[in-house]
């Protein structure tokens, strides 16, 4: 194994990674219809990556990661997508790992990191609450210190994959009367098998349950499960996502959707209709230009730079383009858009309705597009408050 992946030329890294993934990612898991498969559905792939040492691309090598730079990480993600590999439950790898590496104690790192890699701990992220979504700082799930334990009460919602997780890292309010609401929030690591925890899956528009409600009733969490300091969890939580924010704006989904649209349109003779061609051309060019814009931000990362708040623009544009493409699919489907299931297009099935429904969510999650616009207005355009 290489001493440092970052010393290998990009193309060599790409082909090495690609070749191994292509040989080792099980065929039946490629191009899964589910965006967020459960842990046991993809466990084989998870463990194969772990055994190879390639499960945690950005963790430092001392913790069992690959220690990839942002540039190499982009290649990793690109090839993963290109080969149709399924998304694994990655809150442990993508969020808890970096959180603990930055803010955890040595004891926490030694305990939790190996258990993420082994798959023993499957994590989920407890941020949103029924009354704290875009306005996350208004969260009210409380933690009160009782001896050397916190007692947690309240509710989280939109907790992705909580029903296949056994741990949750959760934002709780530890001071009710803080002058600045962002103060008084604390990050806890919470064992979902503790007494008083109840998880209820929520079915989404596509008929799948990939997010849940999580209820906490007098749940006791030992003091040693505190990450960082009490009342300073907001800063801790915000510091986790760095260059990964670029992936929220990756053109992957619209790229996939427009290929499907093209197949469907071909089969339906839509390209004979100049009005459709005109609409298609606009979508195609939007995707092409999104690629140019993505490349501009990727270039910054490759040059060792850091992303600014302006990267939010990619998230807004890519998620809204994804929606417009899938809306066009339903228009091309004509009367057949009444069906719930897939549409035949020659020798392939096109999941137009599935993609249309799926495209509703990315504009909402990861900070709704309205919140992204607020961020751009303040941080980039510096408009008055």
């Amino acid at each position: 194994m290489a001493s440092d992946w970052n010393d290998i030329p990009d193309e060599e890294f790409r082909s090495t990674f690609r070749e191994w993934v292509d040989q080792n990612c099980p065929a039946q898991l490629r191009y899964m219809r589910k965006q967020r498969p459960l842990f046991n559905e993809v466990a084989e792939w998870y463990h194969a990556l772990a055994a190879k040492g390639w499960l945690a691309p950005t963790w430092p090598r001392q913790y069992g990661g690959m220690g990839l730079s942002a540039a190499k990480h982009m290649i990793y993600v690109e090839e993963w997508g290109r080969l149709g590999c399924p998304r694994i439950p990655d809150h442990g790898i993508g969020l808890v790992g970096p959180l603990l590496i930055q803010h955890g104690t040595e004891e926490q790192k030694a305990h939790y990191l190996p258990r993420i890699l082994s798959g023993e701990h499957v994590w989920c992220q407890g941020y949103s609450e029924p009354n704290a979504g875009s306005d996350l700082a208004s969260l009210t799930t409380s933690a009160v210190l009782d001896g050397d334990e916190f007692v947690v009460n309240g509710q989280k919602i939109w907790t992705t994959l909580a029903h296949c997780a056994n741990w949750i890292f959760v934002l709780v309010r530890t001071e009710r009367d803080a002058k600045v609401r962002q103060k008084g929030i604390t990050v806890l690591l919470l064992d979902l098998t503790s007494p008083g925890v109840r998880v209820r899956p929520i079915e989404n528009l596509r008929g799948e349950a990939d997010f849940c409600e999580v209820f906490f009733d007098q749940v006791r969490v030992p003091m040693k499960n505190l990450v960082g300091k009490v009342n300073e969890g907001w800063t801790v939580a915000k510091s986790v996502l760095g260059h990964e924010r670029i992936f929220l704006g990756a053109p992957t989904r619209p790229e996939y959707a427009i290929a499907r649209l093209q197949r469907l349109a071909d089969a339906r003779g839509a390209f004979e209709d100049p009005a459709f061609v005109s609409r298609f051309a606009r979508l195609r060019l939007d995707l092409y230009d999104l690629g140019s814009a993505f490349e501009r931000y990727a270039k910054v990362l490759r040059a060792g730079g850091e992303l600014g708040a302006d990267v939010s623009a990619l998230k807004v544009f890519t998620t809204e383009l994804y929606q417009r493409i899938t809306e066009e699919m339903l228009a091309v489907a004509g009367e057949e858009a009444r069906f719930a299931d897939d549409l035949a297009a020659g020798d392939v099935e096109i999941d137009a309705m599935n993609l249309f429904l799926d495209s509703r969510s990315p504009a909402i999650f990861g900070g709704s597009n309205e919140i992204q616009r607020n961020i751009l207005a303040k941080a980039v355009l510096q408009l008055p408050g």
């Binding site: 061609v277 005109s278 051309a281 195609r284 060019l285 230009d289 140019s292 814009a293 408009l383």
Partner: protein
């Protein structure tokens, strides 16, 4: 504000931007535009020669015929900066288009004369290649050529010293430079939306010496395609600069304008509109940057696509950003004394030049995958 991001190892691009900024202080774009309009659309020779002095006219001419030996990267940055500064001289047609035709012409005395004159500012060579109702045709008459037909959409015709005409002979297209004071030539001008005059130039059996032929069939068509490609890139850059500056003005205005006790830019309805404008300006800058990079690769088909995308994107962005900019300036935006309307009018002109976005997009998808019935320009 969004801007072209290109590697600039020796600082040439920064220098170009600085020199445009300095120029704009001497010749403020909005003022020049209003004055030009007052003069019936004539390009101010003072401004044009100052631009030649700065080395901007014919920037794309190869070094062997007296050019600066600079390339499309520099042209794109220059055009973007001129767009920002609202410098409304016809740099696309009378510099980029002309220099590409002349640079690619058959070497000879006429090519050298034109190139040297363009660089010094003594020659204003204006492309006149889009046939009107009467097609541009040429045939040999004893020792001369006879040129007939009419050319439409000719910029800066009144100050032109030479027209670069592409006329058909029996073999195909012929590129020739035609003296602007030729017998049998007439000109009619119409006011352009941004204050410049746009002419139709008619030739009726005009005698042109054969030594004015710059290229003959086959190569003329290639040259024309090359000139369209380069000019579309330059126009895209100029439009991208216009878009970015119009947005900047609008942010400044709405941050300053107080209603209901607050700057109107503090209202979310306004903020989200401004953000959407910014996203479009950012995409336009990215598309132009992508086209510059593609033109420097060996893949000419990829370059064609990238330029089509860039001109379409920047044109759409500039036109729609300027429309919204007018709106966000309120009643002020509807007045002639507010500069933002001039940005809108300039954007309309450049967006319509060498292909509107819809047409360019159709050409893109037709080229890329053969779909649709996209028409090509010219």
């Amino acid at each position: 504000m969004p801007e072209l991001m290109l590697d600039d190892p020796d600082g040439t691009l920064v220098m170009l931007r600085d020199s445009v900024a300095g120029f704009a202080e001497r010749f403020p774009g909005a003022k020049a535009m209003r004055e030009k309009r007052g003069l019936g659309g004539a390009t101010d020779p003072l401004i044009w020669s100052a631009m030649a002095e700065a080395g901007w006219i014919g920037l794309l001419l190869p070094e062997e015929c007296g050019g600066a030996g600079l390339g499309l990267r520099e042209q794109a940055v220059l055009s973007e900066a001129l767009g920002r500064a609202l410098v409304s001289e016809p740099i696309g047609s009378a510099s980029v288009f002309a220099a590409t035709l002349i640079g690619g012409a058959t070497p000879g005395a006429e090519r050298s004369r034109l190139a040297a004159g363009i660089v010094s500012g003594d020659v204003v060579a204006v492309p006149a290649w889009i046939s009107g109702a009467k097609p541009l045709v040429v045939h040999a008459v004893s020792d001369n050529l006879a040129l007939s037909g009419e050319a439409r959409f000719v910029d800066a015709a009144r100050v032109a010293t030479d027209f670069l005409v592409v006329a058909q002979d029996a073999q195909g297209g012929m590129l020739l430079s035609v003296p602007a004071d030729l017998d049998g030539m007439t000109m009619s001008e119409r006011a352009g939306i941004d204050g410049g005059a746009i002419a139709t130039v008619s030739f009726s059996d005009c005698k042109v010496p054969t030594d004015r032929v710059l290229s003959r069939a086959n190569s003329s068509e290639d040259l024309l395609r090359q000139a369209i490609l380069h000019t579309r890139l330059a126009l895209a850059a100029e439009l991208s600069g216009l878009a970015s500056k119009a947005l900047e003005l609008t942010i400044a205005y709405t941050s300053d304008r107080v209603q209901f006790g607050k700057p109107i830019a503090s209202f979310q309805a306004i903020q989200h509109r401004l953000v959407d404008m910014w996203i479009e300006a950012d995409l336009a800058a990215a598309a132009v940057g992508n086209a510059v990079e593609a033109l420097q690769s060996d893949d000419s088909e990829a370059a064609q696509l990238a330029v089509l995308a860039a001109k379409a994107r920047a044109g759409d962005a500039a036109f729609s950003i300027c429309r919204r900019a007018v709106h966000l300036h309120g009643a002020m935006g509807y007045t002639d004394e507010c500069d933002v309307g001039l940005y809108l009018k300039r954007a309309i002109n450049l967006n319509a030049m060498l292909g509107q976005p819809e047409q360019l997009r159709l050409e893109f998808v037709e080229r890329e995958s053969g779909v649709g019935r996209g028409r090509t320009y010219g």
